[in-house]
């Protein structure tokens, strides 16, 4: 749509701007403020420059949780995106079953995040949970509270359980937007199922998939509640991701300076990645 240049439109955006500025810029400035000062009490504070940043960047805790976070996000994307596409391809296209499918798929998305943690906490326990009990009965020793690998896999499976539906729903609506003509042409050419997927469906899904990848990356990158409820970050630090390291630092130990510096670095990483995605997305829109 061709838009009319009109700077008066700012008046319409002003309430949003004011509201988001209040809840984004003010807190952000506070964080910046903390990150360059050493604060003992409200009246005693020193300007320390970039010391906190230096300290945080050399902190092995940051390195470890950053690494864990990237591995986790990569695993999440590697599993959820293909699985989501597969499920979307298998969903019925119309009628009563289609809407039933949509509703069932949407259920995990609507469960409060700590309840997701609770569900898996209950489900995975060896004594009272179906999953833990079954696995142990089948001869696999499984205990997410004490075994590092088990905890890790449980958090991963929980995230797949929680969020694959989102990818599937996005892809499903992307698939519905492909006109029938394409499929008819493919049938005339006797294209194989794989060819239909590779040369018709996948290219048409590109923009939707970009959004799905972005959302899943962002949300898995700031995951906090679910592992917090399920494992509390343990055993050891096996499932302590960035958000949790940060909250521990800020609220647990009250290390305001390092925590603030950490926050800003964390935010910059996210900002950088989302800028890359946004550019790719708008570029995609323009070339279409």
């Amino acid at each position: 749509m061709n838009k009319v240049p009109n700077n008066h439109a700012w008046w319409l955006v002003l309430p949003v701007f004011a509201l988001v500025a209040f809840s984004a810029i003010l807190p952000m400035m506070t964080v910046v403020n903390y990150s360059v000062q050493d604060i003992f009490d409200p009246s005693t504070r020193f300007f320390v420059g970039a010391d906190w940043y230096r300290q945080v960047l050399q902190d092995p805790r940051l390195h470890d949780s950053l690494l864990r976070q990237f591995v986790f996000s990569a695993c999440v994307l590697a599993i959820e995106i293909p699985l989501g596409i597969a499920v979307a391809l298998c969903m019925p296209t119309r009628g009563r079953w289609a809407s039933l499918c949509l509703i069932v798929l949407a259920i995990p998305l609507l469960i409060p995040w700590n309840v997701v943690g609770t569900i898996w906490q209950i489900f995975g326990r060896a004594d009272i949970g179906l999953l833990g009990w079954t696995l142990n009965a089948a001869g696999v020793s499984y205990n997410y509270a004490s075994n590092t690998l088990d905890a890790w896999v449980t958090v991963l499976v929980m995230d797949v359980w929680h969020w694959t539906s989102l990818v599937a729903l996005l892809c499903y609506s992307g698939l519905r937007a492909i006109p029938d003509v394409y499929y008819q042409a493919a049938r005339i050419d006797r294209a194989s199922n794989w060819a239909v997927f590779r040369y018709i469906q996948l290219p048409k899904l590109k923009s939707v998939l970009l959004i799905a990848v972005m959302l899943r990356f962002m949300d898995s990158f700031m995951i906090y509640t679910e592992p917090f409820v399920l494992t509390g970050g343990g055993p050891g630090n096996a499932t302590t991701f960035l958000s949790q390291t940060l909250t521990k630092m800020a609220v647990g130990q009250f290390d305001l300076g390092p925590a603030a510096a950490f926050s800003l670095i964390y935010f910059l990483i996210i900002l950088l990645v989302s800028w890359l995605f946004y550019t790719a997305m708008t570029h995609n829109d323009q070339t279409r």
Partner: protein, 266 residues
């Protein structure tokens, strides 16, 4: 081919539903049965866990608090996002693209970053432990989202409608409220659904900004952990009850949600 599709779908749906079935199953059991051994359905069917929740003000108050701030947040988000989305969909103005990106970055901001400053900000203006504080804090990610979704729906409405209305002598507010909003009803429904959902599932900010009066259900749930261990039955029942509002909302917007997803905006 068809059978294989069905199998994939059934396996996936089963994977989604089994943990929920287990939660439901446990919510109808007594604690002795839960800890006594594994039973696939409640042998000794009981509603006691639910009774605990519905008779204790601390419990059902949590639900009311949550619903209160979630609705408040949805109302605030929608009312500020509607004009802004209209501006983004119809006009080009100074810095519009940057503003839009800036709004989106707030959707991407990790809530953990804002934890401490929010706490201090709301404490210093005397809003700590009020519903409005949580509602405002959730605006951080819901307003950008609402603007994003609504902009998509509004761009789908032909511009000629605006122009005709202005030629007919409609003022902007009358046109916007009387003609334009009814046209994007389903878009507003979908947006409200997503605002409701993201505010309902959020825990970190809601827990940080409240202590007693506005304590949300998601943090009341930690009450089940006591010195004598975890009260599994009540915990499961509370979990089941938190799923219900979401189910109810999605039932109402089920026909529109596919459309909202089709715009590729969540």
């Amino acid at each position: 081919m068809h059978a294989r599709k069905l199998v994939v779908l059934i396996v996936f749906v089963a994977f989604l539903l089994v943990p929920i079935y287990w939660l439901l199953n446990m919510s109808f059991k007594s604690n002795t049965e839960i800890l006594g051994g594994l039973t696939l359905w409640p042998r000794d069917f009981t509603l006691d866990n639910y009774r605990v929740i519905f008779t204790d003000p601390a419990w059902y108050g949590g639900y009311l608090n949550s619903l209160y701030y979630v609705c408040l947040n949805t109302a605030i988000s929608l009312s500020v996002a509607l004009p802004a989305a209209y501006a983004f969909s119809r006009y080009r103005f100074l810095g519009d693209r940057h503003l839009f990106f800036w709004l989106l970055t707030n959707r991407m901001a990790p809530p953990a970053v804002f934890l401490l400053p929010f706490f201090q900000l709301y404490s210093s203006i005397g809003l700590f432990d009020t519903h409005i504080a949580v509602a405002l804090a959730h605006c951080l990610f819901n307003v950008p989202l609402a603007v994003w979704i609504l902009e998509g729906f509004m761009s789908g409405v032909p511009k000629e409608i605006d122009e005709t209305a202005y030629i007919d002598g409609y003022s902007f507010p009358r046109f916007f409220l009387g003609i334009f909003l009814p046209l994007i009803r389903s878009g507003i429904g979908v947006t409200a659904f997503f605002c409701f959902m993201f505010s309902w599932v959020e825990l970190l900010l809601a827990r940080t900004l409240t202590s007693v009066d506005a304590k949300p259900i998601v943090s009341v749930m930690t009450r089940t952990v006591s010195a004598s261990g975890i009260d599994w039955g009540v915990l499961a029942a509370a979990g089941v009850l938190t799923i219900l509002p979401g189910m109810l909302v999605i039932w109402f917007v089920r026909n529109h949600v596919a459309k909202g997803f089709a715009l590729g905006r969540v």
